[in-house]
Symmetry: C2
Subunit: 221 residues, 2 copies
DNA sequence: GTCGGCTGACTGACTGTTCAGTCTAAAGAC
DNA sequence: GTCTTTAGACTGAACAGTCAGTCAGCCGAC
């Protein structure tokens, strides 16, 4: 394209687009290689730019990676909330949340688990990332609370403390996701799903148990 | 520095001792700085050796860090099992396990959480570390199973599937620990402890609930 | 004397960042 | 309509710092 002179594959596009491309590329590379193994050159190659241009846009590598982390979080959250709205029952909504997290690495357009591990590791040592991570988890729990509250409004769920449930449920899902992401022989996605929904059943006083060995490649709706 | 002869603080000691010192130093630095921010020079300084000596002992940086990771895991496990043996009841034992994990970073001689995050991140991308991590978690769950089985033998606990409980409980503790390690405003150590023991109470059919606001700086024995 | 633990000085590779300048397209000037 | 100017996206080529790993040799103990 852009025939005569340059031989760019893409028309390059507006600065905003370029920026987004770079963030996406950075998030992707970070997911594959890991935070600190990510080179500016990798990101640049991936979005068809020069390393200098990446610096031109973000100033420093650190800023690029930090922003990419945030961008990825936002994207994950946006995708989740959008998908949630399309589901009618609390049960389906909770199932969706579990699916979105307890997924083997690399599946779907969701940022891989590598990013989460790195996010935690970075949050432990960098103030700014720590703040982001707290906000992200708060949002995540609020999402769970909203799902439960909605279920209570429709009468699907009885009276439980949605906030308490959210804290525990979020922690449980995190823990299960780790096992799934690391391909633990004891905890495959199916089992993780059943454990999570089993806990939700008990805690919320409903019967959402999934019969073992029944489910299969149930891509959330 | 390097006055007349040597001004070593320690008599340096046998090679085995030296090796162990290096592993401990490496684990400590990794916990502080993170896996990939750990420099051989840092480790060397910490155990009062030259960078060249560290390479002399371990060949490559990679080998050093991998071994340090394993060493740290083993140490954590050894400390835990030793402490467990000193406690009579299943309740006290489970409480100990929760304490050992849901602790703010840096407290105690237990390897900090930074190491765990890095372990996960590395396991995601390196076969060898992945194997170690699976073995570690398997050991961890077996520890929980043993505690439960012991409680069932003494009649303290009723009939539950210890393995199922272990998988869920381990995941829950992991998730809670992350929040505690990252100083989440919503999940302090105290709350994490209560949530974990509350879950155990329900799952095991006993009443181990800890009344809120009661506990304080309870350094596990 | 020799052997193994140990070291300082060095190197080679890598990589974030800078910089001087190119190319493009839009905005004015005429 | 054509020429000039300007802004800003973009780049290749260096630069400078960092570090893992090498090497030739020291030194004390057996």
């Amino acid at each position: 394209m852009a025939a005569p002179s340059t031989n760019r594959v893409e028309p390059v596009g507006a600065p905003d687009v370029r920026r987004e491309q770079m963030l996406e590329a950075a998030a992707a590379v970070m997911g594959e290689r890991g935070f600190s193994e990510t080179r500016i050159a990798d990101v640049a190659r991936r979005c068809d730019a020069s390393p200098a241009l990446v610096i031109y846009y973000f100033g420093t590598k650190d800023r690029l990676l930090t922003e990419a982390l945030r961008w990825s979080e936002d994207r994950f959250y946006a995708l989740c909330t959008a998908a949630l709205g399309a589901l009618p029952t609390a049960r389906e909504r909770l199932e969706l949340l579990v699916h979105r997290t307890c997924v083997p690495d690399g599946a779907g357009e969701v940022p891989g688990w590598g990013l989460w591990f790195d996010l935690w590791a970075q949050a432990l040592r960098h103030q700014e990332v720590a703040k982001d991570r707290i906000a992200l988890d708060e949002r995540w729990r609020r999402t769970i609370v909203d799902v439960v509250a909605h279920g209570q409004d429709t009468g699907e769920l009885g009276d439980v403390d949605a906030k308490d449930f959210a804290v525990t449920f979020a922690a449980l899902i995190d823990g299960l996701s780790i096992q799934v992401a690391l391909v633990d022989p004891e905890v495959d996605p199916d089992r993780a799903f059943r454990i999570a929904m089993g806990f939700a059943s008990d805690a919320l006083g409903v019967d959402w148990r999934v019969p073992a060995k029944k489910r299969r490649s149930s891509s959330g709706r």
